[in-house]
Symmetry: C2
Subunit: 162 residues, 2 copies
DNA sequence: TCTATTATACTCGTACACAAGTTAATTGCA
DNA sequence: TGCAATTAACTTGTGTACGAGTATAATAGA
């Protein structure tokens, strides 16, 4: 198996290429690529809960917590408690966070165009369709979403702390 | 910018999807996806230097060092000094490393086929071509390969250890 | 020859991805 | 109503990506 024929290798390198590209573009804003994308989501809609944002960004809650920590430390977002559901939080952009989110969106759109400019319109459509197909079909085989049932059978002494 | 139209987002999720898929397949060997691929490279050609392997796997030397550490700890490879060039090392598979490398190759090939089975032959060719195009053209804009020249001008006191 | 440069492999620090597990709050159901 | 199951957010630990910097060895040029 040559690496050229290995889809996992090729996807990894394509991702890394895109990620380095975007990372460089947003580095002028002192953001990472992921932070910029999260701000982009928030630019589109503010005041969401962490789990809602996680669903949209398709991020693990552990990963998202870390990203939000850094965005909060940087002063771009704030976490606010939700009186309606005291488990959840609301994420909202600060004043400078709004400015930064708007800038991030702009840079991402720009980078997107530039990154794809080597492809023909047909190739762009093809790539879009192929990724959609892969994601739709393959997600069922192994998702990152927790399986609700089918745990490896613990019965009696579960939670037995004596 | 909807996330569907963001190539960076789509590439990231496609990669993560493939990576989770392969990770699950090679987990029966107690390997990570990257470890399996490195063993796959070594299955193809043994006794290479770290930098040579890094070039083939297109990995940063810092990243590769860590991966080799874990493969060495697991007993699959050994690092041997090279008398011809005392800076470099030779990586070679141990006895059980050879077995594992062969198994890893097998599982990767199998997983590759299964992962791509939802695509038509034409889509596979398209995807291949698109990724090649992106990687060839875009690599020039920002590579992870060190620029040999053009360092930010250090002159006199380089290596001045007094 | 001797010094500046380059190459090899390494360490360190930061950021993500993700599995697993925790705590507290909410919901569902008998 | 009361308890089990679920949910929200977080923590912990491991692995990977990568920028930056280090020590040692090899090499090229004056």
């Amino acid at each position: 198996m040559e690496k050229v024929d290995c889809i996992f290798f090729q996807l990894a390198k394509a991702y890394q290429l895109g990620n380095r590209f975007l990372t460089q573009r947003v580095s002028e804003l002192n953001l990472t690529s992921v932070q910029a994308m999260i701000l982009g989501f928030l630019d589109h809609e503010d005041q969401v809960t962490s789990s809602e944002l996680g669903k949209r960004a398709e991020l693990d809650s552990a990963t998202l917590t870390g990203i939000l920590d850094r965005l909060e430390t940087a002063g771009f977002i704030e976490r606010k408690g939700n009186p309606d559901d005291r488990r959840s939080i609301r994420i909202h952009l600060t004043k400078q966070g709004k400015v930064m989110a708007h800038e991030a969106s702009r840079v991402i759109i720009e980078a997107n165009k530039e990154f794809l400019q080597v492809l023909t319109e047909e190739q762009k459509r093809d790539l879009h369709g192929i990724i959609q197909t892969l994601r739709q079909y393959t997600t069922r085989l192994k998702t990152h979403i927790k399986h609700p049932g089918r745990m490896p059978e613990k019965r009696s002494n579960y939670g037995n702390h004596s």
